[in-house]
């Protein structure tokens, strides 16, 4: 029998002893395996818990159950085709993933984006933020057994998904934003649908708030639960609503504006407590701010092209192909070979609903990326679990997972 040489090595149980207290080894405390199949671990997160009664002494997150190799897969596809994979990373922020990827590609090949495309991108990204937060408000309320909010949130999320479908023909995996602009212009009904949503949504948000914000039982389950300090957030690299709930007004849309965010008037909501309730308040307020941004963007939506006219990178419109030889050649070249990108590396960040999402993209002169790496907020936010769940009840643990709003597709990649 020949031994295969591999870097992979089973982890020895002795190496993990330090993760639990000595009492676990004598059987005095209980080790509970929570997940990966568990209703409240939001996907396939596995938590190994050491429990003293119902109190969590240690919580060891175990990730990797949703590892899909997306980043590696993208390296074998052309720049346009690799984008389709990005939808599958953080499936609640699909537009945001496309968005940041396209910005990275545009930066790498130095491609301009027309005004109209930028504004539509902002509208769609903010709609996605709301839809992600809606799913979050629903599921995290459901984790605390307030079940109706979930259904109400789904009702509004449906409206957003309908808008996505209207634009791209797809509800979740849109791939609507393309390097250099958009796939095609928004349909005529888009304007009305977005305005309708902007009108309805604030009232609906009031409805959710009336069920949760001042509900004594909800307060009891959230105030003071899983607090995290600003220093710890920074130490662990936590961004997004979790960081803002602990007092730091860090939002990339304000700090490093992209795609014309500097033109819109909005505030970055913050709270100081850093607990589950603060995160809830921040996210609810963020939805209101997003509505403000959408409202401004739809009112000021400029006309004009929705794609860059740089034919070396952006395929020509269908109408040109029939009449222009050059357009036909460009079309053929772009969809068979792809466009070459310089052997440089870029790093672009954007604000996802969960925090800072970054794309590191390195070209090698050919039409396929040499290396792509996503810096995803879920992975970094998840690290803090052992710290903030200590000495909480199992019931609170569920609320804390919900409040961090981790997406396992985002963290495992």
């Amino acid at each position: 029998m020949t031994e295969k040489t591999s870097n992979y090595r089973e982890t020895n149980i002795d190496e993990l002893r330090h993760l639990v207290t000595g009492r676990a080894l004598t059987g005095e405390t209980m080790l509970l395996n929570m997940g990966p199949q568990h209703p409240s671990t939001h996907g396939v997160l596995r938590l190994l818990l050491e429990l003293d009664g119902e109190i969590v002494l240690n919580c060891i997150p175990d990730i990797g159950f949703l590892h899909t190799g997306v980043e590696k897969n993208m390296e074998s596809k052309t720049y346009q085709k690799a984008e389709v994979m990005t939808d599958r990373l953080d499936y609640l922020n699909n537009v945001g993933n496309n968005f940041v990827y396209c910005m990275a590609v545009e930066k790498l090949v130095d491609l301009d984006v027309p005004e109209r495309a930028q504004a539509v991108r902002v509208i769609l990204a903010e709609l996605t933020r709301i839809s992600s937060h809606l799913l979050w408000i629903g599921t995290s309320a459901l984790d605390l057994a307030a079940m109706s909010v979930f259904m109400y949130a789904m009702r509004e999320r449906e409206m957003i998904l309908d808008i996505m479908e209207m634009c791209s023909g797809q509800r979740m995996m849109t791939t609507y934003i393309r390097p250099g602009g958009l796939w095609r212009d928004v349909p005529a009904e888009f304007d009305g649908a977005v305005r309708n949503f902007v009108n309805i949504f604030p009232r609906r948000l009031d409805e959710y708030e009336s069920m949760l914000t001042k509900n004594a039982l909800f307060l009891e389950r959230t105030v003071g639960i899983g607090p995290i300090s600003q220093e710890d957030c920074i130490r662990y690299g936590i961004t997004g609503p979790v960081l803002r709930a602990s007092g730091r007004a860090f939002d990339l849309r304000k700090i490093r504006p992209y795609s014309g965010y500097e033109k819109y008037d909005f505030t970055v909501p913050t709270q100081t407590a850093g607990d589950v309730y603060a995160r809830y308040l921040v996210r609810v307020q963020e939805m209101r701010e997003s509505i403000k941004i959408i409202d401004q963007a739809i009112n000021k939506l400029p006309g004009g092209p929705i794609r860059s006219s740089n034919r070396k990178f952006v395929p020509p419109p269908r109408s040109e192909i029939g009449v222009s030889m050059e357009a036909l050649i460009h079309h053929f070249k772009l969809w068979t070979e792809g466009f070459p990108a310089p052997a440089e590396s870029v790093y672009v960040t954007a604000e996802s609903p969960r925090g800072e999402i970054g794309v590191f993209l390195e070209g090698d002169g050919g039409p396929k990326p040499w290396r792509i790496h996503y810096r995803t907020p879920s992975l970094l936010n998840l690290q803090v679990m052992p710290l903030i769940t200590r000495n909480h009840f199992v019931a609170d643990l569920v609320g804390i997972i919900g409040s961090l709003d981790v997406i396992l597709g985002d963290s495992d990649r």
Partner: protein, 334 residues
Amino acid sequence: MDAALIWEWIIKSVVILLVMTGGFAYVTLYERRVLARMQVRIGPNRVGWQGLLQPVADGIKLIFKEELTPVGADRLIFILAPVITVIPALIVTAVVPWGTEVNLFGRIVPLRLADINVAVLYILSVTSISVYGITLAGWSSNNKYAMLGGLRATAQMISYELALGMAFVGPILWTGSMSLGDIVSAQKNLWFVVIMPLGFIIYVIASLAEVNRSPFDMPEAEQELTAGYHTEYSGMKFALFFMAEYIKMIGVSMIGATLFLGGYQGPFVDAYPWLGPIYLFIKVALWLFFMIWVRATLPRFRYDRLMAFGWKVLLPLSLLYIVVTAVLRLLVGG
């Protein structure tokens, strides 16, 4: 004691059992439909007219499901636990009067199975048994989630049964009898909910905890403990737990309606005794609606807060309520 009387008892027992099990089936449908309406959904409406055959379909499904017994489970107790849970739920309403007396085929038939003089004690003792079933189910499943659920059930029952028992004291003090028949008769003109609203509120809260309903559904908190004490149960054994929970819901609604909402009392019930069961049915249906409404609205209590609430708020309040009721009774003149 003639043979006809024995037959009467047997028939009435069978009727109660059938009403309770049938009621269980339709309470599940009722809950699903009402909950769906509250959550902008439609709910099951495909099986039969307006989904009326849905419970039958569910029952058939559960009967044909495979019964699993986990490795390392204590087989005897694992099988016994659902039985211990469901039987008290089935027999607890035996002492609740459904109406006065009706003339059936020339025979005066009282619309109650047993009008015993310790009815309230009977209810308390019988309902206390069912928690053993839950605890044993949690313990015998050889599953950590189930055990946590079982332990929670124990702690919860101890904290809430006290307040529940105290809530019973008010009507007993007022009537001077533990018989539910006497308690209902005493509410002919004025329901006890008007005289002792505090007792009514305590009863409502404690009874929600008693039947493990939201916001006190700790033992089966699906978000934390997957399914709590019945995680490892499948098929008919699971159905028995389910049945126990819903029958207990009907039971506590019935007892609550009897103690505080005048039971079968209502307009024209003297002239037409058949109206008694109908009034009781309406009151129970409203009570169940309230329970479902609460479930649709409130988040779950946390286990330790629940205990604190039980011991530090509900128990002192119920003591106060007894004192107030006793003083009131003296002033009114007994």
